[in-house]
């Protein structure tokens, strides 16, 4: 197990280095930061002095090393717009995004797994078919438009829920959170539901096909033959075996939830990292863009690592093949 974790961690470091190079070359080298950073009226001597001061006259690999050195120490440069550290700006906005993503995932799990199980156990019943038809809608509906329609129905027409912002927040261990106040929860409900829809549909389909397959397996027949109660057969034998792909997908989808939060945050004016990214792109605030992208790439890599380790804990066969290879 330890060897497995060490090997996976090393792999992650290599991928992270490769991604940092791509993002660096992509954002810094393809675009020309000089045009933005230096006054267009500056003469040639001023330009050259500024280029040297920024280290832009050095070869690309040297610039990359300097950038990497700073990035390892958490220094992604200062935001052009906010004049504070780019990383700090992102860390300040991160709790809001994480709260939104966690809540969305919770909604997707709490609704998705039981609904999927139901559809898998009763594939021909009207309820099972209705659940599956609904999940197709979840895939097809464009997220941002569903968000607008939620606002239209629940904020404008019914007036039940507020349409933007986080509402009242409470500090939990020094981090402001919305879910501990009634007002915060009211603000959280709509954006989290909107963000959850795609994953809800995905979990329903995944759980359904898993349950569908598991029911035909010999071990389920054996468990029934032993005279176990229906509840135990489904709750322990079926559920445990379909949880392996479900856990993987939940883990992998968590990263895409954070990425898709960019859209939901824009619709509901939720003050998270995603909204910061959109604003930064519009203002060409490169340090913030680079910092955001590297933070989210690190996120993805950590999530993949965690999923692999969890996976190997749930399914010993994975660990064995890895150790041999």
């Amino acid at each position: 197990m330890l060897v497995f974790i060490i090997r996976r961690s090393l792999q992650s470091v290599v991928v992270l280095l490769a991604m940092s190079l791509i993002v660096f070359v992509g954002v810094y080298a393809i675009g020309n930061p000089i045009d933005i950073l230096i006054n267009p009226q500056a003469d040639q001597i001023d330009r050259e002095r500024a280029i040297a001061a920024l280290g832009l006259d050095r070869p690309l690999w040297e610039q990359y090393l300097v950038f990497l050195q700073g990035a390892l120490g958490g220094d992604f440069g200062r935001s052009f717009v906010h004049a504070t550290s780019a990383l700090r700006l992102i860390l300040e906005k991160m709790p809001a995004t994480l709260e939104l993503a966690f809540t969305a995932m919770l909604i997707a799990i709490v609704l998705g797994i039981p609904l999927g199980l139901w559809a898998g156990l009763k594939p021909n019943a009207l309820s099972g078919r209705a659940i599956m038809a609904g999940s197709i809608l979840g895939f097809s509906l464009p997220t941002f438009w569903v968000g607008l329609m939620l606002i239209m129905v629940f904020s404008v027409m019914l007036g039940w829920l507020p349409s933007n912002g986080r509402g009242a927040t409470v500090d939990l261990l020094g981090v402001p959170v919305s879910f501990l106040t009634v007002d915060g929860l009211r603000h959280l409900l709509m954006p989290a539901t909107n963000l959850a829809l795609f994953n809800l549909a995905l979990l329903i389909r995944l759980t359904r096909s898993g349950a569908h397959e598991a029911l035909l397996q010999d071990y389920v027949k054996f468990a029934r033959a032993k005279g176990l109660s229906n509840r135990r057969v489904i709750g322990v034998h079926v559920l445990r075996n379909i949880l392996i792909p479900v856990v993987t997908v939940i883990g992998l989808q968590f990263g895409s939830l954070i990425a898709f939060a960019i859209v939901t945050e824009s619709v509901f004016a939720w003050p998270g990292m995603g909204k910061l990214l959109i604003d930064s792109i519009n203002l060409l605030d490169r340090p913030v863009i680079v910092a955001y992208l590297l933070v989210i790439v690190t996120f993805f890599i950590l999530i993949n690592l965690a999923v692999d380790i969890l996976y190997s804990a749930l399914d010993p066969r994975v660990r064995l093949t890895e150790a041999k290879g």
């Binding site: 464009p142 438009w145 898709f260 990214l277 959109i278």
Partner: protein
């Protein structure tokens, strides 16, 4: 055993061309037929938008700001009706949607065709050449597919800047990987079959083997992926345009129409965002219905 069972009924039927069989199988499903009909209607609206629209929504002589934000069903000055209401500039929403469909479908189709060509070339070359080249191409594909499309699109827009060409570039960059992966895996399977071996034994030139023998047999899974990806491209373009990072306002796609209505939503003027969204939804759903049925019809394992 199973091959026997599959072949027995087809031997009883008169011989049928594969194309004929696929068409018959496709329209055997009423839901798919409905999806196909809906898609045809949408494409018709898009192509003939200038002829069937009640007005040209981007001709300043035909719109009147005094007609701004009228609810659906309001009468026009000339005795007609704004069936879907008007936007803030007094444009007929129905006409704006027809023109928006045109732009959304064009961007989706253009990026799909370009990505298809690039992905096809990369995937076929990877499968045929093999070795280091294959490893490199597939590594890039794997890394790219481990990130959500919206994130890659935003990275590219951040790097390249905005504009129609840039959006298409971003969509192509995202999509080629799906085609490359699909073509490669199909080509790897086909490469090992006897007819390729036979073609090699006949000493046919490699280009002839790749394009005349390998390529046509890799097409079925590719058609399915391409159909799904057109819908994904249209949805992604709409999302980017909604975020203000997509098409410029001179190219008002459905996403831009929805974004335009966003600011009036809170004051209860729902129709400016609602109807373009319905048009977008119907487009995506109809393409997905067609793709679902194509997947079943083109899958040789499900052949009856």
């Amino acid at each position: 055993m199973s091959t026997l069972r599959v072949q027995a009924p087809s031997a009883a039927r008169p011989p049928q061309s594969p194309f004929r069989r696929i068409v018959d199988d496709f329209f055997a499903n009423p839901v798919a037929t409905f999806g196909f009909g809906l898609l045809c209607l949408i494409v018709f609206f898009a192509i003939f938008a200038p002829l069937i629209s009640p007005q040209n929504p981007y001709d300043l002589a035909q719109i009147d700001v005094m007609d701004g934000r009228l609810p659906p069903g309001s009468p026009t000055a000339t005795g007609g009706t704004f069936w879907l209401g008007t936007d803030d500039q007094g444009r007929d929403m129905l006409s704006a949607i027809f023109y928006g469909l045109r732009i959304s479908l064009a961007v989706g189709a253009a990026s799909t065709v370009l990505a298809l060509v690039i992905g096809l070339a990369a995937g076929l070359a990877a499968a045929y050449v093999g070795g280091r080249f294959e490893a490199l191409v597939m590594r890039i594909v794997d890394i790219q597919l481990s990130f959500p499309a919206i994130l890659i699109a935003l990275i590219l827009i951040a790097v390249l800047g905005q504009g129609t060409g840039k959006v298409i570039t971003a969509l192509v960059t995202i999509q080629w990987a799906y085609y490359a992966r699909t073509v490669r895996s199909a080509a790897l399977v086909e490469k090992r079959k006897e007819y390729i071996e036979a073609a090699r034994c006949l000493a046919l030139p490699p280009s002839h083997i790749v394009f005349r023998h390998l390529l046509p047999n890799c097409l079925p899974p590719l058609i399915v992926v391409a159909t799904v990806q057109v819908a994904a491209a249209i949805a992604l373009e709409a999302t980017l345009s909604f975020l203000g990072l997509g098409l410029p306002i001179t190219e008002p796609s459905l996403g831009l129409l929805i974004a335009n209505g966003y600011q009036y939503l809170l004051s209860g003027k729902y129709w400016i965002s609602f109807f373009p969204g319905i048009a977008l939804l119907l487009t995506i759903v109809s393409i997905n219905l067609v793709a679902d049925q194509l997947r079943d019809v083109l899958n040789p394992r499900l052949q009856r």
